[in-house]
């Protein structure tokens, strides 16, 4: 299978000069080329990210200055902010759509979709994905689901507002909340299409990695990026269908009178007929995806970090096999820990202790990874470009957020902080901010690969990094204390409780940091767009990197390499490798690309 695919692809490359009459539509819109699809994912993801972050700024303003009139509220929220005062229903809707967009549309599709597409074929030495057509369908389904999610913002009764976890009965009963009408239906339709898109993409990634590796590219020579994308795709295939089932059952409860999740409900003076269902069942189904989802978001970012750090520390990644093993261990464990989101759902406390056990086990591979990153940096010849800074930032937020995970993973300690701002602080640092940093690291590092050699402006990159890094901690670090003081999440304002009055100043500090962080993203947007058009063209291998994508010509061609695909003779991390006499393997060059054969006197190390 793999041989035929390669042979076919090679034929293709030979006659590619002749039959390539691409139209605008096949080249930029319905493209089947993985490099173009990667860019489509990235740009769609960034636009959704803009919407999602803008929403968070709006509701952060409401939290800092509860009930205050802001003309901007009236301008963007219209009838939901009469006189410029935000309405409580739209607050919940903003939180819900912010969470949904950031987790699924930005950090699942925008991050993993972009870099899996860009890097899998280029780093394993393949002409394209196993199925270019399915890849295209996957992107367009993602696009469609994004459009539906955005349309849902404009329906009469408002978008879904039951939290990104959309627990029934709140999400199931239109009379419980205006957002549970049409808005919720569109949310469910959008997510259903999103899941289909994600499955097509993931299956493609898996098949491509298994079948289309170039000669010499054994699994143990794969760059860690590819390992991360590969395993991420596997967890996606295992867990997304479970979310689909939860969504479909919810749709049936909503529209066809079934009672999967509903029972004994009396609402607005009316007894409903639902009998025998359980909202806890929904929670199980949701979190069976929901927890692996955080690793679907995070693992690609960790993979990118491995690659960027090793390149820019000019050192081999520390503990390659331990890194692979921990990716696999995290993936496996991530499917058996979902109950830690449900410690106080009414489940049996004994079951809680089982989930505590499995959850704390994840700390081991996570710590291995954090340790290996730090050891990779240790005594490295650090090239602190923006991609590297964001990677280091990721390790920092991953550790900070991970430590609070140990508290939340303990079923007894969680009782007191469950659903408070402590949790919001935890997951933003460990998955939101970490994965976002991974996304930025990837964009700065592979921008030249995406845009035919053009480089992003470094100085703007530094501004972007430092302002973002300081402000992200400024927003989310104090949030731990707000949570420990007992402030619940998803509260429109905290003024109903005098005991929270003394936190008002902290709320303002967090919001100011958030607004500055949001402004800093505009620097990135400017840098990104202007570099696409006016960026300076760099060398073909700007970071002195070993992986195969830098052996491909800067100009994008269908099939990636002119002529033959490069063969691989070594792993991806031969940085600063020397002969016994201390000379670099290739004279005057501190890296040895993967397509360089083992030199006569060179010792091949067993990694």
């Amino acid at each position: 299978m793999s041989a035929t695919a390669n042979a076919h692809a090679e034929d293709h490359a030979h006659d590619h000069e002749h039959h390539h009459k691409e139209t605008f539509i096949t080249k930029y819109i319905f493209s089947q080329d993985h490099k173009m699809i990667a860019k489509q994912y990235l740009i769609t993801g960034l636009i959704m990210g803009f919407v999602g972050i803008a929403m968070s700024l709006l509701f952060r303003m409401q939290l800092a200055w509860p009930g205050r009139e802001f003309p901007i509220f009236e301008a963007v929220l219209g009838k939901w902010a009469p006189g410029g005062v935000m309405d409580a229903d739209i607050y919940l809707a903003l939180v819900t759509i912010h969470g949904t967009i950031m987790v699924f549309f930005v950090l699942t599709a925008g991050l993993s979709g972009t870099f899996s597409n860009l890097l899998i074929p280029l780093q394993i030495g393949a002409r394209d994905m196993a199925s270019g057509f399915l890849n295209m369908v996957s992107y367009w389904l993602f696009f469609l689901s994004s459009v539906i999610m955005v349309i849902s913002l404009f329906v009469e009764a408002g978008p879904a507002a039951a939290g990104w976890t959309i627990y029934p009965p709140l999400s199931a009963l239109p009379m419980a909340q205006p957002g549970s009408g049409m808005g919720m239906t569109l949310w469910l339709v959008s997510m259903t299409i999103f899941i289909a898109s994600s499955l097509l993409g993931s299956l493609n990634y898996i098949v491509t990695v298994i079948n289309l590796r170039t000669k010499g590219m054994s699994m143990t020579r794969l760059p860690l990026t590819i390992w991360a994308f590969f395993v991420t795709a596997i967890i996606g295939v295992i867990s997304f269908p479970v979310l689909l089932s939860a969504g479909l059952l919810l749709l049936m409860d909503r529209s066809f009178g079934t009672s999967f999740f509903l029972s004994d409900i009396f609402i607005q003076g009316e007894v409903l007929h639902y009998q025998g269902g359980s909202p806890v069942l929904y929670e199980h189904l949701f979190w069976f995806l929901g927890h692996p989802e955080v690793y679907i978001v995070l693992l690609p970012a960790l993979g990118i970090t491995s690659e960027v750090m090793s390149t820019n520390a000019r050192k081999p990644i520390f503990g390659y096999r331990a890194m692979v093993a921990s990716i696999i261990a995290i993936a496996f464990l991530s499917t058996i820990v979902w109950g830690h989101h449900m410690f106080i759902s009414g489940m049996n406390p004994f079951l809680g202790s089982v989930f505590t056990f499995t959850t704390l086990l994840i700390a081991i591979p996570s710590a291995v990874k954090a340790f290996n990153y730090i050891t990779t940096l240790w005594k490295g010849n650090l090239q602190l470009n923006p991609a590297m800074l964001f990677s280091i930032g990721l390790v920092s937020t991953f550790i900070t957020g991970g430590l609070t995970g140990i508290i939340l993973g303990d079923s007894t300690l969680d009782i007191n902080v469950h659903d408070t701002y402590f949790v919001v602080a935890h997951f933003h640092l460990v998955m939101g901010i970490s994965a976002l940093y991974g996304l930025f690291a990837g964009v700065y590092h592979w921008f030249p690969k995406m845009f035919e050699g053009k480089m992003m402006n470094k100085n703007l990159g530094y501004v972007h990094f430092w302002v973002t890094a300081i402000c992200a901690y400024g927003v989310f670090f104090p949030m731990h204390f707000v949570g420990m003081a007992g402030v619940p999440r998803r509260y429109y304002e905290n003024t109903a409780f005098p005991m929270f009055d003394q936190l008002t100043d902290v709320q303002i500090v967090m919001t100011v940091f958030a607004l500055i962080a949001g402004a800093a993203q505009l620097v990135f947007v400017y840098n990104f767009i202007s570099s696409i058009f006016y960026g300076k063209k760099g060398p073909q291998n700007p970071w002195g990197s070993n992986t195969l994508e830098w052996t491909a010509p800067q100009k994008h061609i269908h099939g990636n390499w002119e002529g033959e695909i490069p063969h691989v003779y070594r792993w991806a991390y031969d940085y600063s490798k020397t002969y016994e006499n201390g000379e670099y393997i290739i004279e005057g060059q501190d890296f040895v690309p993967q397509n360089t054969p083992i030199q006569p006197d060179e010792e091949e190390l067993n990694h």
């Binding site: 627990y167 009965p169 419980a176 029972s263 009396f266 359980s278 909202p279 106080i344 509260y491």
Partner: protein
Amino acid sequence: MIDINRANVLGLDEADPNAADDKIVKELHLPKGRKVIFKMRSQDVLHSAYMPHFRAQMNCVPGMITEFSFTPTVTTEEMRLRPEIIEHVKRTNEIRAERAANDEPNSDPWEFDYVLLCNKICGKSHYNMQMKIIVEEEEDYQEWLSTQKSFAESVQPQQ
């Protein structure tokens, strides 16, 4: 069935003899030093009964009964005498005094009380769903209890 006109606000079953001695209250009184078992239900959507001062929380789930128990050890009165609470109340009342001076809302002086608040998104009023908890000595508790009407006494007769 819930019947506001007849003061059956929770929809208890009048035919059920076990409901007759139930007491429907607007604030929770708990006796100090005795284990309290909370049995929780919900009639509409998920809620979560969160009692931050007791580090206690349990979801209220339609269709099933969940439970939680703890033993309160410090009465509300004793709490109010603790230095850290006095400090907290003082700071809060300074903020509130400032608001009063500026004619802003939420400016009434505050006195410490334990609270139960809702901690599971439940709709528009989620942010304001709360109940006062009062922990008191056993004899005060008994006295309070004796003033509360049972369901059988409080429900209005059928017209």
